[in-house]
Amino acid sequence: WDEPLIFELSHPGRVGYTLPKPIEDVEVEIPEKLKRKSPLNLPEVSEPEVVKHYTRLSEMNYGVDSGIYPLGSCTMKYNPKINEELANHPKVSFIHPYQDERTVQGALKIIWELEQWLKEITGMDRFTLQPAAGANGEFTGVMIIKAYHLDRGETQRTEMLVPDSAHGTNPASAAMAGFKVIEIPSNESGTVDLEALENAVSERTAGLMLTNPNTLGIFEDEILEIAKIVHKAGGLLYYDGANLNAVLGKIRPGDMGFDIVHLNLHKTFSTPHGGGGPGAGPVGVKDFLKDYLPVPLVSYDEEKDMYYLDYNVPKSIGKVKELFGNFAVLVRALTYLKIMGRDGLKEVSEVAVLNANYLTQKLKGTRGYELPHKELRKHEVVFSAEPMRKETGVKALDVAKRLLDFGMHAPTIYFPLIVHEALMIEPTETATKEELDAYVEALKKISEEAYTNPEIVKSAPHNTAVRRVDDVLAAKKPIITWRMYRELKEKGEVDY
């Protein structure tokens, strides 16, 4: 349905808030030149209207609790509700980050305990939980690489190697840290081309950023070779944890030769994604890098049974975010870990991989979808709709939109870039067999439609709150705020 903007619900005089009275009702003079004179064009609405408005908006949104959500490389698993209950505990909400350590031992213990779990899971020696998100973690990681080389006087190490199948954040993070990004092509199995890597490394190499399994869902089986090449050249090996769900509790980046790891608590560790955040992107390092981590770390004084903020990080890169990270997200992740335990975490990766392969095998051979590279996948699979596009004009985008009509979320599309018309599907371990079967059925049905009645696919979706959204217009005539909209509206430049 249509729900107006909150601004359009405004009626002068309506009030949605209550505030306590001031302690003393004195007049405080604000310097004239600072006084607010410009109008405050905010909506005037009552609390029931606010609640109805956002309730309705929520009903126009699809979440993990609505149905299958197999966005590749996003690990949209079920978000346990106990996580929410504990993250909303008053003992979490109502503590200030600058409180005396003696009054926040619980919070510090949570950070410390979570670090212990992550260390064992990844095979790393020390973690910072400060980064707010995956990309923030990547930035932390590459800054550590930079600091390490500079510290050793190797100022010439200015190149960061990144496979062509990597997430966009990898090159972007490397660039932000001031590195030149060198792209490494994939071979026909979909893994890093060793020869190309050999040719790319040099004394300028700062490191290689890698996911394993990679974004095709394929395990980099030559990882030991890769590590050897990079290390031999004097570079460090960085693990992008986006795909950790595939190997969780079974295989550790630290054992594969990685020196630095970032994780996504909002992917692998079941914290909700909230429509784009908050997440958390902890970064773990091997012992020789721990002096470079952001400050503060949380350490434990066994003798006093006291947790404390540890600023003793001599070569720290500084801070990558204010304070101690997205604490409420950390509470959720630790809760999940304690419930899952060793046995549960292993079950996660095993069933995630089973689900992905089940879907792969069931869909394989369907007309229009091609399965490039190796068949055996880990947590996700990338099909190509290139044959379909060529034969019927129906693109990956159309397939994605048509899936929405079946009440299912689309896969990630057009990524990784090395697969044309990519459909990147990651069911995760929390999908049911019925959901997988239904998803395959829907994709088969769409294939059938593409070859018999392509228009219905190209004009999809048909059963959603809005029809296909015009993103070209959005970019051509940017309307980012109600303020911009009002202006254009007054000029008669918009009819929507």
């Binding site: 505030l19 909506p43 609640v51 009054t103 707010a132 409420a328 419930i339 079950e347 309307i479």
Partner: protein
């Protein structure tokens, strides 16, 4: 036994068989030998046991409800109306991803568009992104942006020495990438930015930054002049703002800011030991600026039938398209925090925003008046939330005494600014109670 979050735990045999595999191991056949191992972790526990365990851990926190606290310094105890949390905990919002599929994500897209719009009205700039990680990272990204806007020809970023230390540290880290030169400007005897010093240092600056209020809790009176000095020198003017101030103080956009950053999570979100938060990032409606801004933007457009709809837009600035050439690496942001802020701002409306500013200002003034009775105030001016006080005794002693009275004192400033002596920031907000302040002053009297 099957795991309660993993439905197909119960169907492994059957599914493997259906696809012609004989074991889970076979699915991991491509993993080199020796990699797969049993981890040294505790076994899983029941939800109840973990609930108890986490409750026991959390018992070791003492909240500001249990112990009046005068901590501020960038994190404040604001009251969040209950419906805000109730709404953002609705699973359709909570468990959704970045709204890549606009047609089934109109709710989140519209809510974020509303966030952008509400912030735009507050800060007085029409282009606002859907959130950065926090004020600090938003400020750091703004610094990088001003450097990019000068195509790297200017690398100097000018900030007051009394910028919040936490943000300063983030700026320094971010600045190392493109090699930003951070230059600090002194404060004057009134705890305000020293305009003469600024004039000396502004030459060749890519950007100039100032905060409202400043780290000492004071309203910077010469914001506009700072902006003019920056612009005269060809630098961009970046203002960092506590948005709860903006009902009573002029929008930074109206005071000349090209870029406004700040902390959105003061609205709608509890303190949470400092996170998650959400950074405000707003710019003038100038294609040059928009093209260089970091982060996600939600735009209004039409659907195929001409109906109003929302969608992520101008994505060509972003990492998933532009990769190494993106304006920032930011991907996950703080969407839900931003939506919570939006709901809170919408609830307050124009009147509530003004009243909130006034109540905070008056409570701060009361706190300041009472603090004057027992301590020295290094600077005079209009304080909002934070008040800088200086003691004769070591603050540690005072802090211990307050703690013994079940009061948490202020934020110790000396580690960052030793020149200020035994100084601390004590803060008030709309949540501060008279009896708390009175108890504080009484306790202080006993020790100073």
């Amino acid at each position: 036994m099957a795991k309660h979050y993993i439905p197909n735990s119960a169907h492994k045999e059957e599914m493997l068989k259906e696809i012609g595999f004989s074991s889970i191991e076979e699915l991991f056949a491509d993993v080199p030998k020796g990699f797969i191992k049993e981890l040294n972790l505790p076994e899983g526990k029941s939800e109840y046991e973990v609930f108890l365990e986490m409750n026991e851990i959390l018992e070791r926190n003492k909240t500001v409800l249990e112990m009046p606290s005068f901590l501020g310094a960038g994190t404040y105890f604001h009251y969040i109306p209950a419906h805000v949390k109730y709404l953002i905990e609705r699973s359709e919002f909570l468990t959704s991803y970045t709204p890549y599929q606009a047609e089934i994500s109109q709710g989140m897209l519209q809510a974020l568009f509303e966030y952008q719009s509400l912030i735009a009205e507050l800060v007085g700039l029409p282009v606002v992104n859907a959130s950065m990680y926090d004020w600090g990272s938003a400020m750091a990204e703004a610094a990088l942006m001003t450097v990019r806007l000068h195509r790297g020809k200017r690398k100097k970023f000018v900030v007051p020495k009394h910028t919040h230390p936490e943000r300063m540290q983030v700026l320094k880290t971010y600045g190392k990438g493109p090699g930003v030169e951070i230059v600090t400007v002194n404060w004057n005897e009134r705890g305000q930015i020293d305009l003469e010093d600024l004039k000396e240092k502004v030459k060749d600056a890519a950007g100039v930054y100032i905060e409202m209020p400043n780290f000492f809790g004071l309203l910077e009176e010469e914001i506009q002049a700072v902006g003019e000095i920056a612009h005269d020198a060809g630098a961009y003017f970046v203002v960092g703002v506590d948005p709860t101030l903006l009902g009573i103080v002029e929008a930074p956009g109206e005071l000349g800011a090209d870029i406004v950053v700040g902390e959105a999570s003061y609205f709608g979100n509890p303190m949470n030991f400092g996170g998650p938060r959400a950074g405000i990032f707003a710019v003038r409606n100038d294609p040059k600026l928009i093209r260089q801004m970091p982060g996600r933007l939600i735009g209004m457009t039409k659907d195929a039938e001409g109906k109003r709809a929302f969608v992520m837009t101008l994505q060509t600035r972003e990492q998933h398209i532009r990769r190494a050439k993106a304006t920032s690496n930011i991907c996950s942001n703080e969407a839900l925090v931003a939506v919570a802020a939006a709901i809170h701002i919408a609830t307050l409306g124009p009147r509530g925003i003004r009243e909130l500013g006034e109540v905070i200002l008056k409570n701060t003034t009361y706190l300041k008046k009472r603090l004057k009775e027992v301590a020295e105030l290094p600077f005079d001016g209009v304080n909002f939330k934070d008040v800088l006080v200086r003691f004769e005794k070591p603050y540690k002693e005072i802090h211990e005494h307050l703690l013994s009275k079940n009061i948490h004192g202020g934020y110790y400033v000396k580690p960052h600014f030793p020149e200020l002596g035994e100084a601390a920031l004590f803060a008030a907000t709309e949540t501060t109670r008279k009896e708390w302040v009175d108890a504080l002053i009484e306790a202080l009297r006993e020790v100073v």
